[in-house]
Amino acid sequence: MTAMVKAEGVHKSFGPVEVLKGIDLEVKSGEVFCLIGPSGSGKSTFLRCINHLEKINAGRLYVDGELVGYRQKGDKLYELKDSEVAVKRRDIGMVFQRFNLFPHMTAVENVMEAPVQVKGVSKSQARTRAQELLDRVGLADKAGNYPSQLSGGQQQRVAIARALAMDPKLMLFDEPTSALDPELVGDVLDVMRDLAESGMTMIVVTHEMGFAREVGDSLVFMDGGVVVESGHPREVLTNPQHERTKSFLSKVL
């Protein structure tokens, strides 16, 4: 299997605070890759670096063999223009903790928006496809509702459909269930499980250890801006090697 995402010594600072202190990891194509760790460990920041919502300060980050946000010429890196970054982002879907649906559009319009505006798909085609995707996440009957008329879990499933509408080769999930009522978490995880079975490459920042254990192919535990431990989820979760991982897991599990 080839590497979908590859990070080499990725550093990121916000002013004087160094959030990522050299991350090296590799995400294989078709894999479900889980990132866990305490808040402030840099896992969400790392995720946002992958589609260049945050610029990295040092190191290299590749998606599907291509540098993220930069072009290499000789030994130097040049930052890409905003429009070039936008083109690369089309292939990377992202789901946010707080959904970030467009509140002035109905569910189906939310899903149609990017294909119509970015890819130039005709409205009727986009609508049919959006309807299919909403059906896939179990919300076919909510197509005409505005986000404010949907529950958190329903909103998050629309957000997943919206990301899928661009036919991405990689999906990033930034704590997709952290803002949901416990009762609604299951629906969203079911959709993600389906997606994993369909062979989508997924990077999931999560606190759902059950999901990581069941669906995950690899798992990384991050703390203080570095990767502390990595391996198969079942091994890391049941038999952690590092003290830090042990103490974290003893509190969450």
Partner: protein, 232 residues
């Protein structure tokens, strides 16, 4: 007013731009046009002919300044450019009110800055922009009375002139006031429907139009009278 609104949106976007040149141009414009009285600006525009005798736009246009700067154009430019400065700050407030996550989500979908602004941010900013803009429109309508200083026959001046000749100045002033009131009322109704349009999605159901409210009230009244009629 149209100049004001279009200019205001442009200036607000420029002001929020990451490019230091565009943002400082916008800052300077706002600083200047907001910092001097509109009455002074009007008089200055009108009297620029004292400084520049001719206006010369190369091969396109050449004329004496006093012919070019008619009272109407003075009014248009003076009020429009001044208004743009105020509208810029209103629009900026609106753009800043939209959650950062909206921009991020749009960028993550591969939409460009311009598309994000046009399709995602501005429609949401409008909810915040429309009410103070209504204020500005009404203010502007009333400010047109200042234009009388550059010999433009606007409403107040016309009313006074007729008052002088017909010998009924007080009546004509009342009439002028009534006209201002009528026009602002028309704008207020327009504003109500505009706000209603941009409120879609922000509350679970749209507020009723005045007509729907009246209908609902009448219906409930007639229901009540029929039920009380039944028990009595």
């Amino acid at each position: 007013m149209a100049i004001g609104i279009v200019g205001g949106v442009l200036l607000a976007v420029m002001r929020l731009s990451k490019n230091p040149v565009t943002s400082s141009i916008a800052w300077f414009y706002i600083w200047f046009f907001r910092g001097t009285p509109v009455l002074v600006q009007l008089i200055v525009w009108f009297n620029l002919g004292l400084v520049f005798e001719y206006i010369n736009l190369g091969p396109f246009y050449k004329d004496e300044w006093s012919d070019f700067m008619t009272p109407f154009l003075t009014a248009l430019l003076g009020l429009g450019l001044n208004e743009a400065a105020y509208m810029a700050e209103i629009c900026r407030a609106g753009l800043l009110s939209v959650d950062e996550g909206q921009t991020e989500a749009s960028h993550a979908l591969g939409m460009s800055h311009a598309k994000t602004l046009r399709r995602i941010v501005i429609p949401q900013a409008m909810r915040v922009i429309v009410p103070p803009t209504g204020n500005e429109v009404i203010n502007m309508l009333k400010t047109t009375s200042l234009v009388s200083v550059v010999q433009y026959p606007e409403l107040l001046r016309a009313a006074q002139d007729i008052g002088q000749t017909s010998g009924a100045p007080a009546e004509m002033l009342f009439l002028a006031a009534a006209w201002y009131l009528l026009l602002t009322s028309v704008f207020s109704v327009g504003q109500y429907y505009l706000e209603r349009y941009y409120a879609r999605g922000s509350s679970r159901s749209l507020p009723a139009t005045p007509f729907q409210k009246i209908k609902a009230n009448v219906l409930s009244l007639s229901n009540r009278s029929s039920t009380t009629g039944g028990t009595a």
